[in-house]
């Protein structure tokens, strides 16, 4: 009986160790199946090539694009996302903090902002075109609008959701309001704020594509519509692949940031990372 109890943990760790390489391989299984399946299907004539170019074609196109100015398209799109996101997120942090911390600011701003939030993103396009023309400004404004609302919501709910008990502790120390915000409210609200920033960044990418479909001369959205207009479905897919990659990279960057800033959090995901399941 006793030996069996002693054996159990060893077997458990052995099983866990064997599982780890599998975990590293699993993320690639679905994409490999899809790409391989698509390639075979088109080669065998099951899928028409004008609707679904084989992945090998798309790969060739990516190489060709890389040798023919892809860098400037990538730079243009990334810069737009960066600037638009900073503008929108920055405004959202300022307004969100005001609304969360000051009742009069909340009464003044929040109802109007909630109403604006209800407007679907693409409905802004004709108006922005009219007011700001077809250059960079309407694109950056559209991206900023996209990034604004998730960040705003994150900031407001983050501050609003701070445990009252923690605030009471801070009251013991008679902290001045700005110090209270900086030392207690901000760190406590940080998880929600970062989630808002994360979502805002994803939306910024999405809105960037919409903005570049308006009337761009460079960028991944421009490539996308270029492919569409000249019946180059391979360029369309290449642009989509690049958008996915860039989006994923910026997402990963956010995750790294979140993990570093929120290492103190006590939740299930964190315990999974430590293998304490």
């Amino acid at each position: 009986m006793n030996t069996r109890i002693l054996d159990a943990p060893a077997a458990d760790t052995r099983r866990r160790r064997a599982g780890l390489p599998l975990l590293r391989v699993l993320p690639f299984v679905l994409p490999a199946l899809l790409l391989g399946g698509a390639e075979l299907a088109v080669r065998a004539g099951l899928l028409p090539a004008n609707l679904m170019p084989p992945p090998s074609d798309v790969a060739r196109t990516l190489v060709w694009l890389a040798e023919n100015g892809l860098g400037s398209h990538l730079a243009a799109s990334t810069l737009r996302v960066f600037v638009g996101f900073l503008a929108g997120a920055g405004a959202a942090v300022v307004l969100g903090a005001s609304v969360a911390l000051d009742r009069r600011a909340a009464a003044l701003l929040d109802p109007s902002l909630q109403a604006l939030r209800a407007i679907p993103s693409l409905a802004w396009v004709p108006l922005l075109l009219l007011w700001f023309g077809i250059d960079e400004l309407p694109k950056l404004v559209l991206i900023a609008i996209g990034a604004f609302f998730p960040v705003y919501t994150g900031v407001v709910s983050g501050f609003g959701g701070v445990d009252r008990k923690l605030v009471e502790v801070a009251r013991l120390y008679r902290l001045a309001p700005p110090v209270l915000v900086r030392r207690v409210l901000l760190p406590a609200a940080l998880p929600a704020i970062l989630t808002g920033l994360h979502t805002g960044l994803s939306l910024a990418w999405m809105f960037m594509v919409a903005a570049e479909l308006i009337a761009a001369t460079r960028g991944l959205g421009y490539l996308l519509s270029d492919g569409r207009e000249t019946s180059r479905t391979d360029i369309v897919l290449a642009a989509i692949v690049l958008l996915a990659v860039l989006g994923k990279l910026s997402d990963m960057a956010m995750v790294v940031l979140e993990r570093r800033l929120l290492a103190w959090r006590d939740d299930f995901a964190g315990s999974q990372a430590e293998g304490l399941r």
Binding site: V169, L172, Y173, A188, W264
Partner: protein
């Protein structure tokens, strides 16, 4: 004149009067327990004493060595009033050291002060742990260390051990008794645990649900160090329970 004096004329929540004509006077080094049924206002009283009161302001006065606590430093009493809540209420993003020293602008306490304090509450070596790595009992020890950090003369505690299990509670009570004795602290402790009140206090104050002066003030003359399960302690506990039951009936 007492060392720590709380005088409450009236405290309302909206229309309801919660506390009225209540005076508590603590001698230096005295340990007083506040006992009463839930809803009798003992936590509110403690909040007023700490300056944490909210809602309609109370008509009350709090004096430490004869002056309002905020001005006690000028009267030669540094360190203010320490407070320990029922839950540890540690800031999860700060480690133990920074939580303890939260009140100070420096952020982290000097290493020797920190080591001594952690030793005192039984957490030697835990300086850089995060709250999520602590058990309930350990977290509450940190909370007590935080309350003691400024070297206060008065310690207010609101059911500090009600959230932990029985064995941890005993250990924490023993630790508190030692700390209080070594530092000569004046303590006002709110608790619903009669055993705890009898084991720790010099005096037990019974509060009614009916607003007004305390129903009874029971001196606890047992010699220290106190053993648990003492016959005298048991008799005292029975008497107090009887008083509380009478009020409930």
């Amino acid at each position: 004149m007492s060392f720590f004096d709380i005088h409450i004329d009236e405290k309302r929540f909206g229309e309801r009067i919660v506390l009225q004509h209540l005076r508590l006077a603590l001698a230096p080094g005295e340990i007083v327990s506040l006992v009463g049924p839930s809803g009798c206002g003992k936590s509110t009283l403690l909040a007023i004493a700490a300056g944490l009161d909210h809602g309609t302001p109370a008509r009350a006065s709090v004096r430490l060595a004869g002056v309002p606590p905020g001005r006690a430093a000028q009267a030669g009493i540094a360190g203010g009033i320490g407070f320990v809540f029922q839950e540890p209420r540690l800031f999860p993003w700060l480690d133990v050291a920074h939580n303890i020293a939260f009140g100070s602008a420096a952020g982290q306490p000097p290493a020797d002060v920190l080591a001594a304090l952690l030793d005192e509450v039984g957490l030697a070596g835990y300086a850089h742990h995060l709250p999520r790595q602590l058990s309930g009992g350990q977290a509450q020890r940190v909370a007590i260390a935080r309350g003691l950090y400024t070297r206060p003369r008065v310690l207010l505690m609101d059911e500090p051990f009600s959230a932990v299990d029985a064995i941890t509670r005993i250990r924490l009570q023993d630790m508190l008794a030692r700390v209080v004795r070594e530092r000569g602290l004046t303590v006002l402790l709110v608790t619903h645990d009669i055993d705890e009140a009898v084991h720790l206090s010099d005096r037990i104050v019974l509060i009614d649900r009916r607003p007004g002066p305390p129903r009874a003030q029971v001196p606890v003359g047992l010699a220290r160090p106190r053993a648990r399960g003492d016959a005298e302690a048991a008799r005292l506990k029975a008497a107090i329970l009887a008083m509380l039951e009478r009020e409930a009936a």
